[in-house]
């Protein structure tokens, strides 16, 4: 039940893109069509869902003072986390290249750039600072990925429609995407006060 709360909170209330503005680069660059956005969104859910538990295990059993090594190695956290993320992304890159070459070419340079998607490393750092349990970290990874997926699909759909509107030439494309994201972020801010745990308690 707690894991479900973490999932809902990560996906809607504390959306990584719209509440913390993490993972913006690929979010803005790959949101020109819903189809590519869909592919990238699935890849991000997958990478977040896998790296989060692996990083949890590393943080708990290798880096912390009462882990297997018995020394406080937290200064190595960045390097180890990013190494895990990079190897997972390389794996996803190879799988997509084999499974769907057309998606592979349309994602282009932004596939390796999932590694430097702030949402992935930021998610792992949030997980550490919030002291999640193993189950909650899995839920947080999947929920955060799902929230990112929703946000990129939403902006891609809006950008597909807005192509038919009469936007001033200087704002067309990227400029409009920035302003739309700002508006979406302000809309999502209204969800920030909701507490799923309290809601569940009220219903029962």
């Amino acid at each position: 039940m707690e894991a479900l709360n973490v999932f809902i909170k990560a996906a809607f209330i504390e959306n990584l893109v719209l509440a913390y503005f993490l993972g913006m680069c690929s979010y803005l660059a790959v949101s020109k069509s819903v189809k590519t956005a869909f592919g990238l969104g699935l890849a991000v859910i997958f990478v977040l869902g896998i790296t989060m538990p692996i990083n949890w295990i590393i943080n708990e059993y290798l880096l912390s003072e009462d882990g297997l090594i018995g020394m406080d190695l937290t200064f190595l956290r960045f390097i180890l986390f990013i190494a895990v993320i990079a190897s997972m992304v390389q794996l996803v890159e190879m799988v997509i290249e084999k499974a769907s070459p057309s998606l592979y070419t349309s994602l282009g340079i932004f596939l390796p750039l999932i590694t430097v998607n702030c949402a992935i490393l930021g998610g792992s750092l949030f997980m550490v600072s919030r002291d999640y349990t193993f189950g909650n970290s899995v839920a947080f990874g999947l929920g955060g990925g799902f929230g990112w997926f929703l946000a990129i699909i939403a902006i891609a759909a809006i950008r597909e429609k807005i192509r038919y509107s009469n936007v001033p030439p200087g704002l067309r494309g990227l400029g409009m995407a920035f302003i739309l994201t700002g508006l979406m972020g302000m809309a999502f801010m209204s969800l920030m006060g909701i507490d799923p745990a309290a809601l569940a308690a009220g219903v029962n």
Partner: protein, 238 residues
């Protein structure tokens, strides 16, 4: 004899700081800006720009990391196997960011506390990795180093513009937290323009929207609008 003349010719062909090298630094400031044209490195641009001083420190940190990661990667480019290139690049970047973090901790602890998470997130700042992939893996060390400096400067320029706009309209100050702190407009007598007894500025109050991260999106959107209406070549055709 022939080899020496060849060497001399090569040196003449590639001056240390010629027109091409200057373009490497000036291009990213405007026509090939990492934030507004290449769309790289936006997360931190949103997060640290509510005040100018942290933006300046962040810009310096990023210039350092882009320049030296470009240099190191370019020196190693022929020895990095393609299949593990990302991991190698990320370890170079993570090491440099650790250096920056420790230096900042030593020299300026308050700003280190203020930036802490975002210094770590320079690792995932797409501009560093993007330049390594797009430039340093295919170019010589000196030019890669200049490209790193140029892109760091282009990034810092936008960061500081956004910081200035957000701080003046959001808080009424400039360089708050630094020795250069200026209080421009506000409702106490400490400020340069005091809105409580000024008849001219009595209507003015700080815009709280500017303090929220969403404001950075609007400011960058407007910067892009201005830049693209001045240079119509950059307009999106799609």
């Amino acid at each position: 004899m022939s080899t020496t003349t060849q060497e001399v010719k090569q040196v003449e062909k590639e001056p240390l700081f010629g027109k091409k090298e200057r373009r490497l630094i000036t291009d990213p400031l405007n026509d090939n800006n990492p934030i507004t044209v290449q769309i790289l490195g936006i997360c931190s641009a949103l997060a640290v720009t509510s005040l100018v001083y942290p933006s300046v420190v962040m810009a310096i940190a990023v210039i350092f990391v882009t320049a030296f990661s470009n240099l190191t990667t370019s020196l190693l480019r022929n020895y990095i196997p393609k299949s593990v290139r990302m991991i190698v690049q990320l370890i170079i970047i993570a090491t440099l960011v650790t250096v920056v973090e420790l230096m900042l901790k030593y020299f300026n602890y308050p700003i280190y506390k203020q930036l802490s998470v975002y210094i770590g997130l320079i690792i995932t700042n797409c501009i560093v990795m993007g330049r390594l992939e797009a430039f340093a893996m295919a170019n010589k060390p000196w030019r890669s180093f200049l490209d790193g400096i140029g892109n760091g400067l282009g990034y810092g320029l936008i960061l500081i513009i956004v910081g200035v706009v957000r701080e003046i309209f959001g808080k009424g100050t400039l360089f708050a937290g630094s020795p250069l702190e200026m209080k421009l407009i506000g409702n106490t007598s400490e400020f340069f323009i005091n809105t409580t007894d000024s008849t001219l500025f009595g209507w003015y109050s700080n815009n709280n929207l500017m303090v929220l991260p969403a404001a950075a999106m609007f400011v960058i959107g407007i910067i892009i609008w201005i830049q693209r209406s001045r240079n119509t070549k950059l307009v999106d055709i799609s």
